[in-house]
Symmetry: C2
Subunit: 114 residues, 2 copies
Amino acid sequence: MISSKHLIRDEDIELEDIGGGLTRKILGYNHQLMLVKVWFEEGAIGYIHEHYHAQSTYVESGEFEVTVGDEVQTLKAGDSFFIPPNTKHGAVCKKAGTLIDTFSPVREDFLKDF
Amino acid sequence: MISSKHLIRDEDIELEDIGGGLTRKILGYNHQLMLVKVWFEEGAIGYIHEHYHAQSTYVESGEFEVTVGDEVQTLKAGDSFFIPPNTKHGAVCKKAGTLIDTFSPVREDFLKDF
């Protein structure tokens, strides 16, 4: 059974550079659920893509033009979005900030040891 | 099939007073996954409890003494914690702040219309 640690200090988690002005930390997870913090530089793009996982995201800071299916809105700190499984989505960062992305089930493709 | 809206503006979501210095907003969800923002006043307590849902939480602001099973640590903004299903956990707010709680599956007990 895969699982993160239970109590997670920010400074203990590796910051991964995933290219294109995006960095991330993989925080708490098991096979059902994963929480990932993603930093966007201004102008960075989460290109339109889809996956079978459900995704619920909280905008912690910054400003993002978010697309889910055929809906598009500019969202800022405190706003959020939900992506049903197998639904095209993406985000263009208008002001640098962070997203708290959560997935169910786990994004096994994010885990090196999976 | 239950689901929140896809694009969620903070000001459109009801702030629920759940007592004891705690308020919350239920953000994006479907049957698999739910994201909830919880505000704690200083001294507010999330009493030790357990549930069959997995939980992954991000500390957005403030300071919390967090218990998961027999582990206890004081966590602050940027830290996080993971609670396996059926594991006792709680949080005591040491400095006012917000937690981003996520659950899998959905916390059907949080939905009035479920």
